[in-house]
Symmetry: C2
Subunit: 195 residues, 2 copies
Amino acid sequence: MKLLEDKIVAEGNAIGSDILKVDMFLNHQIDPLLIDEMGKEFFRLFEGCGATKVVTVESSGIAIAVAAAKYFGVPALFAKKATHKNVGSDIFTARCYSFTHGKEYMMNISKKYLHPGDKVLIIDDFLAGGNACNALLDIISQSGAEVVGIGIAIEKGFQPGGAALRQKGYKVRSLAIIESMEDGKITFRPDEDCF
Amino acid sequence: MKLLEDKIVAEGNAIGSDILKVDMFLNHQIDPLLIDEMGKEFFRLFEGCGATKVVTVESSGIAIAVAAAKYFGVPALFAKKATHKNVGSDIFTARCYSFTHGKEYMMNISKKYLHPGDKVLIIDDFLAGGNACNALLDIISQSGAEVVGIGIAIEKGFQPGGAALRQKGYKVRSLAIIESMEDGKITFRPDEDCF
């Protein structure tokens, strides 16, 4: 998605060969018009997938997921992060290790909002190693719902998460795939190589 | 806002005389069309306020703030919650006690995104005692920015936060003000009494 790639180049901050800060428009400050366009693009990419729910993780995924859900005309649902294991019987829960924060957390979704028969489109802001996405997949699997697609804003193509998910057969579409970052210079994977 | 009041009555869950659960459409699962209408309504209520930024707190405030920011054509910005005091010099920070979670946390906003000259519209999902809102006001005051309004989705009118903020001279507008909850029955304050 050229609009997003241009924004990353203009306002993102590549630190070394691995860290990309996009808190100017996505992770802390949020550009609402860009977010709306991203929601529209996810709808174009996954149109006809039959999604009954868009699922993401708090906090950075929420704005994008709600924008996409609006175009699909279905509810958005965000997994909550907790530091302690919630032992309630009313939630689906999965363990997730965050490399960004260097710690493990629990990801929870209420059993009230995911059921067998639900078709879930996962939306998230970043895909790198795939830990957060795999925890979401675990939760959705517990619920008996089906995953119909995984839409990512920014994928780090040089990390293994995306390739592993595609190999498992998931339809993964990323609006921008970063091939490499060297000395602050960001190279994107051309769109046609993604799919 | 009748649409929101109707939704609260139809899908909210009043527990005792104080707790209102709206995780069916606002706090966990999110109704994207309702959220968009709420953003539009905040724009109507605060049109002409000159807002340059819409500020909220993660996580539940994000969707509403982004919807409102879209109508104003300005960035949204969310304060991040941290359990530990971040001693970096690059953030504005304030302490906040959450009655919902029974614990204290730090609220942080990067100094990059709030400046003197900014006119801030605060948007949040709930206003009860006013702790979260007061922490945001503290942060905005540290930045030298000006608060031009406070827009709340659901205000608990029987708690003191809203009255205290209005008494201080802030323009507070809540889309639904709950006058009382008794045995699960929710009574709203009529719109004309709010302002």
